[in-house]
Symmetry: C2
Subunit: 98 residues, 2 copies
């Protein structure tokens, strides 16, 4: 399992529209091969920043499978115009939990 | 439920020692009032960076209960010397999931 992580900075005043667009975009990503689950959370200290966490079976499911898909074009069209600056997307491997 | 989030930059070469110290520190935080669960993950693109996610019942369980506790002094003593720079710790509220 690989964790995709991004902090999404939304253009001020567009938070509500982003949340609506994100709800529309969720079925696009959740139907992809290797998708396991997703959470979207909003920052308390900086309410214009959201945290996206997606769990994938393998790194390649995200960076090859999803990003090279036609579904990614729809995802991008729905969401990318809300971001400024464009977020850094990184991947993590869980090493401990309690 | 409130999500505590931090990206932890570990002083280069100290990653193994940090992981051992973190395993020792986990029972300190998991015994606190309001603690729900915790994950520690390691970044694939930047292996010196770890992501800490802690779920608390309420924001005050972390920023008042834990940070003002004697247990926090032990936590700090075990872990804080590994960080450079000291991480930004923020809190999130989950708004969507699939």
């Amino acid at each position: 399992m690989v964790i995709e992580h991004a902090l999404l900075p939304i253009i001020p005043g567009h938070e509500d529209a982003f949340e609506i667009a994100f709800a529309k975009a969720m079925p696009i990503i959740s139907s992809m091969k290797g998708f396991q689950n997703l959470t979207l959370s909003r920052c308390i200290e900086r309410p214009g920043t959201y945290m996206l966490i997606v769990q994938w079976e393998q790194l390649s499911d995200h960076i090859e499978g999803f990003r090279n898909s036609t579904q990614y074009l729809q995802w991008r069209q729905l969401l990318h115009h809300f971001y400024n600056p464009f977020p850094i997307v990184e991947h993590f491997e869980q090493i401990n939990q309690v």
